[in-house]
Structures are given as C-alpha cells and as structure tokens.
Point group: C2
Chain length 441, copies 2
C-alpha cells in the first residue's frame, strides 16, 4: 500500500534546478544592479491585495486570468502585474514619496493563462518607472532606454536594438487619414508586409475600407526608412507637407527631442532605431513607446517593452501622475535564452572551492582553512561525509565547483593544502593556505 | 461625485517606504551572501502549489491559515512555509540533486492568521537546510550555527546567543521520569520558573500529576547551569547515574560532539550556550535544536530557530532523507528591529550622488558626468526637472543622497563640478570629474 503523494508542480509554473537558479539569479542581480546604479528605489508590495483595489482598472481578458478568492470576509486577488500595485503604492504613500519618483520592482506576478510554451502563470517582472507629480520632462523618456542599454550590455547576450516610436505619431497620422478607429487592424496588416508584400497588404487594407489614396499614404508612411536622422527628417517633412495634424507634429517633435537626449545619455546609435510600427497597449501609452529585440534572435520578440502614460493613478486619486516605464519579463526571457542555447547553466557555481578533508583527524585544519577562505570573501563548501575520495570528487564535479582543496594528514602537518583545478584536467598544486587564497581570488 | 477606489493594503500585510526597503534589502543581501559563502545553493519554488501536494502533511491550525482556492479544476494553495516546498522539491528532483543537498531559499510565505502586532500574513523566510541521502553526519549540525553566527555578525545588531539543545536529552529525561506524554506541559511550567519561583513551579507540576520525587528530579535537571563544558559534564554525570535512559545518553553524546565541532567551526563560546529548555516543534525535530536570541533584546524571542529532523520527504517518497536546517523570519525580525530602534532607515540611500544640472544648456556635460560616475561603479541619480536650486537640493536631501554634483555653465566650461556634501554641513568643493570620482568611491 502506498499512501504517498506524487511530488509535482502545476503546469505552466517554472521551477529550476540549482545550477539554472544560480544563472537566473545572476541575471536578476545584474538587472537590479543597473537599476540601482541609475538611482531607482526598490519597493516590494504585497502579493495579495483586495480585489477592489487591484482590479479597479482591470477588465475583460485580464480579469479572467486573475487568481481571485475569498478569505474570511475579504475578496482577494494575486497581483497580475507590477503597474497596478505601483499606482496604488504611489497614490497611498504620495506624501512620503519624493518626485519624480523613480522605483524598481522585481518580483513575481500571477496570470492564470492557458499554458503554452514560453508562457508562465507565475513569473518575474523586472520593472522600472519614473512618476512625476503633475508633469514629467521629456528627458526622462531618454533615461529609460539608457538603463535598458546598460542592462543588456551587462547581461551580455549579443547585440540588441531598442526600437522606439511615439504614439502621437501613429495617432496623428491615422487621424489625418481618417482611420483613428482602425489603428490596431492597420498595424496588424502592416505587420505582414514582409510576408505578403505590398499587394497583399493593399488588398487587406482595402478590405477594411481604406480607399486607394489612403492605402498609398499608409504604404508611403511605413516605407520611411534609413538612419535615425533620415527617418526624423522624413517625418518632419511629412509634418510640414501632406500630414496636416497637430498631434502628428507634436509626436515628431517629441521623438526628435528624445533621440537627442538618448545620445546625451551616451546610448550608441547602433543600439536604438526608430520603428514606426510599434504601438504597444493602445489605451495605455500616450507618447514614447519602446520595444527591445535581440538582433540575432528576433524570433524571441520584444524582450523589454514600455512607454509613457499620461496618468498612472487615475483610479485612486485626482492628482495627475504621468510616468514612463519598462518591464522585462525575466522568467520568460530566461527560459527562452536557455532553450535557444544562448546561455548555459553547465558551469554555474557559487562556491569557488570545495574543502575536502581526507578523514576525521584532519577536520579541525579543514574547517579552519574553510574559515580562512570565507574570511577572504571566497565562497567555500566543505564535504563532511565520510566517503571515498571518488565520491568526494564527484560531489565537487557534479556541482561544478571549480577547485577542490584536499587536506590529508601530510598537508595538515605541513600547514599545506593540495589545490586541485577541477576544470583544467585536474591539475593539482601543493600550496600554503595563503597561496591558495591568492589563486582562488 | 467620486468614483475613486481608496488605495490601501490588507491588515497584517507589510509594505515599506523606499528608505526602509533599502535597509530591508541590505539585510536580506547580507543573509544571502553568508548563505552563499557556505556553499548553499539557491532554489525558488512556485508560490502556488496543488493543495494535495502542499497540505500532504498539514492539518489543524496550519490548515486553517492556508490561502486555499480553486482555479479551473485545480485545488490550489499558497505555500505557508519553505519546508514543505523543499520536501516536494527534493522528492521530485532527487536524481538531479547532489547530496548532501545544501539549499537556501529566501522568499515569501503566506499565513492567514488573525492579525496581531509583529505577526504578518505574508512574510519573508530565509531558510537553509542540509539534506542527506539516507544519512547525514552530525558535523553538519555544527555547520548550521556557524552560518547563523556569521549572519548575525554581518547584520551587526549587537551580541547574540545561539541556544542549543538536543531533543533526545529532553525525550530521554522525561521518559526516565515517566512523563513522556507531558513534555509540553512540563516545559510550559518550567518556562515560568523566573516568574513564580521553585514553589510555584512545584505546585503546577504536582497539579499535572508529578510526585515529589519526580518534581525534585525536574528541578534538579533545569537547574543545571554553568559554562558549556560544565553543563556537558553535569549531563554526562546524570547519564551515568540517576538518568538511566539510552536516548538521554545518546542525546548527551550528540550534543557534546556537536559542541566540539562548533568550536572547530570557530564559533566563539560567547556566541552559543546550551539551553536544556529548548524543545521547538515536538513532532518534527528529533535531535539538535537551536534558537537564537539578541542578548540586549531578549524580549524579541528567538530570531532564528531550527533543528534536525529524521525524514524530510516521508509524504512523497520511501527514500529516507534526514536533514537539518534553520529559518529566519525576516519580515518580522526587520519590523521588530525598526520598532525597537535597533536599526534606522534614516540614512538609507543607494545613490551615492545626485548630479544637478543648473539648466538645460549644461545637460550634455551633466549626463556625461553621470555616465562617468556609473562606469566607475558609483550609483548616480540625475535631477532632470527644471526647478529652482532649492527644490533640487530638497530632492537630494529627502532621498538621503550623500552628495550632490552641481553643474553650471562655469563648471561645464572648465570641465569641473561642484561637489556638495549633503551631510556634513553642506561643504562644497570644486573638483575635476576624476577627483570627484575618487571622493565618491
């Protein structure tokens, strides 16, 4: 008879083995380190909030995905993003915050979506946002991509491009051709340009009611290309000629100003590009919008997206709080990078050295050697089971620990250790503890 | 008409302002850093698990506190500790783990308790455990307090004492006097010794059925005191004379051996003490048990507790997995330390310097100065709103940023900055960027 419960986790939930977790944490730490280097402040909000508060804004698809339940008299929900908790936090703590309020939040969010490859029901988001009181200067729209640029340089997974656009350009352009209410449809069709060609796109545009003049304008708009400055020049020319729309002109002017600031922030031109097809959440963003792609892995889609919004806290307060921010979906990105072989956890190890006492008699020297290593800042594990040498080395090997400090009676009597390099052919050196410290550091 | 939702969080949930969060994170990081320095591996398990899996062991009080709910066809629960997820993780991933498996896990757990001061419904636990396959040598019982000792030295909140005991000593002793089934009652009574004196304790012991000879034995047992070695000597003497019990003798021998190893791990005698009244969870722990108190703040109770258990994974697998571990309830500890004024967040700041451009014309030099600082590893914020100097300084002051690097046109033309020490009377120096880097570092 077996009354055992099968140990398992739910479908759509991520869980890693320790080596993968070490690698995940190292990327998490790099992101956090850059966020902090730019002066973003940490916050950490409750995972569980009142549904009334958390779902003030939600509706439709989002609401169906919420983990929502009752406990006692309370209608509770798990947060599904870090933006709503930010809005609640800012509205609630406003008198005690300093504006512009620059915060980072790197934590788990929960969405009960239908499980599918690369989608998780519980995953880390790594968000930064800058919230202004009443207003927030445009130069902050350039600080966000500066942070992103440093993040992806630090993570070091190849070349990347921050694609930038301004919602006002899209809004103004589509308004000027009388298609304000069909922006989503048109963008979806434009997205197929490479696949179905200009003729295909024209047909589909006609099918949603665009006349031939409008179609020509759309095709001419999306064919704008060249360097960043070329594109800005073409947009300016359009604003002064065929596209008579105030919002369009404002978007072009904002985009141009932001590009100037981005260069001020030392973002290399090769790391960003204007992309007029980026819209992001249409209801939410009102100005600058970003997406980020890995140049060699464009199939992964945008790995970091965001933009500017007019009013963060409208559901909670009358005060106007414009902001700008971006989010990295880290669990998804990490699992994609692993699957694509762009990163590997094979050599992940936090411990630099495994101290291996040959037997119990040398234990005191082994333990004091480990203490010395740790006092020097060297992460040190000690193998304390009484097993054969083969078993002891297997432990170091399977954990990927790069060095083993073997201590037998001879070593102890001479105050030496045998330092074995586990990676480079097992080369073994007899050294003083201090000499070993120097190598391990 | 106001259709606004009042921004608020649930009672019993913790949320900190950024300065407090910075301080919280710094303590979290210190704990993590020590755990890693001892070779513990990180894991991160789903917050949501199947109730069948998570509650395999739970029952009674614990089960009432669980946040449990249905989503689709699944009966789900939020984890209420990190031990059950560890057991599930080890049982599930056993072939891919290396034993002894040393893991740390620092994350939130959820308990829908009645809210009371210092108790949270969502809080961080910082756990380490060492799990053996079939067996785990006693020397690991000394590694755990070695880690704890380094953690509390690193957190630096005053002197502390790791109280240590062995459940077998308690079990054996109470069995020898025929009170095995009343250990909890007796310990509860003994706990009042200081308050009600020997007479009071004797009366209460008599009330639960102890005869005078038994009471005398109990009083003599709890009066054992002195240095660690004194206590061990008295326990050994008892084991060879009046307490004829094999389990008692084994407990004394284990405790003695563990104390020896603890000294091997360089734990100073002043940082630990044998305390025969510590029992911890009676069903769960089977050998060594620990509690940790801050010497100057004993009222806070144990800030770090744990012990050895015979079988971690019994609900999931037939394989025997003994282990030893401890847990720090960080949210509670942090909030207690803050409330007691032992720590303060007043001077918390991640950013070392705020770059303050006087106006838009100096923006390029200001941004490039900030880039230089960051490239040198200096966390740097830039104030980018067009406000008066007073407002700009107020931003630095309220955030507690120690330095302001003020840049005006004169500074820009000479390639200099004015570095203002925000803490020491606002002293202001005109320096080259490199000189400023040297000071800020």
């Amino acid at each position: 008879m077996s009354d055992k419960v099968t140990p398992r986790i739910l479908q759509g939930f991520a869980e890693f083995l320790p080596k993968e977790q070490i690698l995940f944490n190292s990327i998490y730490d790099k992101i956090r380190n850059i966020y902090e280097k730019y002066g973003f402040l940490p916050i950490d909000t409750p995972t569980i909030e009142l549904s009334e508060v958390l779902l003030a804004k939600a509706g439709g698809e989002t609401e169906k995905q919420i983990y929502r339940f009752n406990k006692g008299d309370n209608d509770l929900s798990l947060r599904f993003d870090l933006t709503v908790p930010l809005a609640r936090y800012v509205a609630m703590h406003e008198p005690n915050l300093v504006f512009p309020f620059k915060r980072y939040h790197m934590s788990k969010v929960f969405r009960g979506e239908r499980p599918q490859k690369g989608r998780f029901r519980e995953f880390y988001q790594c968000d930064i946002d800058i919230i202004g009181a009443e207003e927030l200067p445009l130069v902050y729209d350039a600080e966000i991509p500066a942070v992103i640029c440093d993040v992806f340089k630090e993570i070091n997974i190849g070349d990347f491009t921050i694609r930038i656009n301004n919602r006002k350009i899209l809004g103004g352009f589509f308004s000027s051709i009388g298609l304000s209410d069909k922006i989503t449809d048109v963008l979806r069709i434009i997205d197929k340009l490479e696949k179905i060609g200009e003729d295909g796109v024209s047909k589909e545009l006609a099918a949603i009611g665009a006349d031939s003049e409008t179609i020509a304008k759309i095709l001419s708009f999306v064919s704008i290309s060249g360097t960043t400055d070329d594109i800005l020049a073409q947009l300016s020319a359009l604003a002064e000629s065929s596209v008579k729309d105030e919002m369009f002109a404002q978007g072009v002017s904002e985009l141009s100003e932001v590009v100037g600031y981005m260069r001020g922030f030392n973002i290399p031109d090769k790391n960003f590009a204007i992309d007029l097809t980026i819209a992001r959440g249409l209801d939410y963003y009102t100005g600058t919008v970003y997406e980020t792609v890995l140049n060699d892995y464009k199939k992964l889609g945008s790995v970091c997206s965001g933009g500017r919004y007019e009013n963060l806290t409208g559901y909670y307060t009358d005060k106007k709080m414009p902001g700008i921010g971006i989010s990295i979906g880290l669990t998804r990105l990490f699992s994609q990078l692993l699957d694509a072989g762009i990163i590997s956890a094979d050599n992940s190890s936090l411990a630099k050295v495994l101290v291996v006492p040959m037997d119990k008699t040398v234990l005191p020297f082994a333990l004091s050697t480990a203490s010395t290593f740790r006092a020097e800042g060297i992460a040190t594990d000690v193998y304390l089971c009484e097993k054969g040498m083969k078993q002891k080395m297997k432990y170091a090997d399977r954990l990927g620990i790069p060095y083993a400090a073997i201590i037998g009676e001879t070593e102890m009597q001479n105050g030496f250790i045998s330092l074995k390099n586990m990676r480079q052919g097992g080369e073994q050196l007899t050294l003083s503890v201090q000499e070993a410290v120097n190598i391990l550091k």
